[in-house]
Symmetry: none
Subunit: 187 residues, 4 copies
């Protein structure tokens, strides 16, 4: 593992447990076993370290969610996306927490991060549009629905991370998806 990657991995861990602002660059460097100068050699500023880390995490999630082809019906495809995302979140709980951390940071380049997230959850508007066209989904305003779906995914993921015992419980997994899906479905 390159020193750069070591720094990224260490930063992720510390950021998630202490908060971004509360984590000193010196602490990251020390915990990663490199000199402070090394951190700044790879990332010119703390902000850029955060950005690079965010990009990293975002890319990983996006890859994890890539669906080869639209298989099955609408609800089935939605469920596949949902499950992939959830599996990734459970496999990388710190990454998910970090995304949420960055997402909720105040006073920062909010729009950038918000847009970045839409990029990942971009399948949602597509599903929504298609579902509405097919008459399977209710005509919910897209912008509002998107925000809500995103929130529901993040909330569910965080819930399963916080309650690992329930993450394997099919009943819970189904309930979480239904809570998401039925909020939009036409009944």
């Amino acid at each position: 593992m390159s020193k750069r990657d070591l720094i990224l991995a260490t930063a992720l861990e510390l950021f998630v447990h202490q908060g971004i602002g509360a984590t000193a660059t010196a602490q990251i460097a020390k915990a990663a076993g490199v000199a402070t100068g090394t951190l700044f050699h790879h990332f010119p500023s703390k902000a850029q370290l955060v950005s690079a880390l965010y990009l990293n995490v975002k890319t990983q999630l996006a890859e994890a969610m890539r669906l080869e082809q639209g298989e099955g019906d609408l609800a089935g495809r939605a469920r596949q996306y949902w499950d992939r995302g959830m599996d990734w979140a459970l496999a990388h709980p710190e990454s998910l927490r970090f995304m949420s951390l960055v997402y909720h940071r105040p006073g920062q380049d909010g729009d950038l991060k918000r847009q970045a997230m839409l990029e990942i959850l971009g399948f949602i508007p597509e599903l929504l549009r298609q579902g509405q066209a097919e008459g399977r989904l209710r005509p919910v305003p897209e912008d509002l629905a998107l925000e809500q779906c995103q929130g529901q995914f993040m909330t569910a993921a965080q819930f399963f991370i916080d309650h690992p015992d329930k993450a394997g419980d099919g009943h819970y997994r189904d309930a979480a998806f239904d809570l998401f899906w039925l909020s939009m479905a036409r009944h």
Copy 2:
């Protein structure tokens, strides 16, 4: 307005726009037009200032949401709660943002804040239980449902704060509530 209240109001504004960690006590004091010593005279530490502010905001929201008596049917009562909360959020956008800020703070007394929020949105589990008993709501695991409802309320509120033009649009308001309600309703 007492100096104490002035400090609280100023802190709220600054915290929300810059973040809690990024706001210096000296800045709060200066913006409030008092000496730094005065701030620490009223609040022995920054942490306690944050706590006091949180308590303040929480109390206000709780009061705004108090329903005299259970009027109407289940969905009607739920809608009343939802609307009251939403109105309050729109009237006090910074307060809502601050709650979300504290809620998502990492490494902190998470449980305390989480519990405090349940206290306010406490009507949800009640509605949920009653609705399930009456067969009007699906049997969703309570802990998961609670988390989701809470998240949906906060998301919707933030959405309307960010898009004030849509906050008065009845179509949007209905859609937001439906997204919440239909996720749990039996169809």
Copy 3:
């Protein structure tokens, strides 16, 4: 002596002996017997400390050179100014050195400092103009002459500071002034 003045005095000494860039704010604070925070309480940045110090020194020199009234003839008045300046420089060698330091700093607010110096040596253009009008001084371009006179004064002052034994030698003192005066006089 207030802490603020203590810091200024200490900074002057250190700047002059080590250079401005080579003197750490922490070193100034320590040498002055105050905390680093105290320095930044009084001077928001190192640059502003330097500016404040410069202003201080400039004001002192200006006061020292103030002539109650135009006594004597042109050369006599010039000599009085020259001697006052020289006496002040000998009494405050570090102040003079600091002025020269700031004056020669590269990449900085050169114009500001240059103008500030003209302000002090402002009597020179006056003398020059009057002398030229009376036919006692040669018609030297004013801007060039001003620069040269300034330089000659600073050079002479520095020379006497570096050779204190010669500062009391009337022969040397006369020679220094003549070098200055005869460069402009009509013969």
Copy 4:
């Protein structure tokens, strides 16, 4: 141009515009298009880079000022020296500025640099001695006169660099030399 020379040229430019202390070796290397290691391969330390640069510049100036033989009378020879120096300064403004920079640096090997400069302007004491012997120059203390002449040359050169339009104006050029020469001449 060899990498070594490239580094020297780049360093000159940066030193002059930002100051020596404020210019990082890494910046020089980058601007010169070489690796940091390369800079330290050619110059074992920043101090030695500065010295090498100084030597370079000094040598160039010395060569530019070399007069084949004493032609003409005293004032004529002086004027020749003066003009050569001034022409070189105008052709290499950054070199001149760098010399002045090094000359005024505090806390450094002052005597060395001072002596180095005398080496270049060494013709002045000679002229002075000869002129005094011939009775054409006043009996000014040599050490003081030398310092003043040096200062006047540097000041005039800097003036013409700062005001290029006046550098070609014969009136100004004459005035600058006269200011220098008449300060010592017997009238």
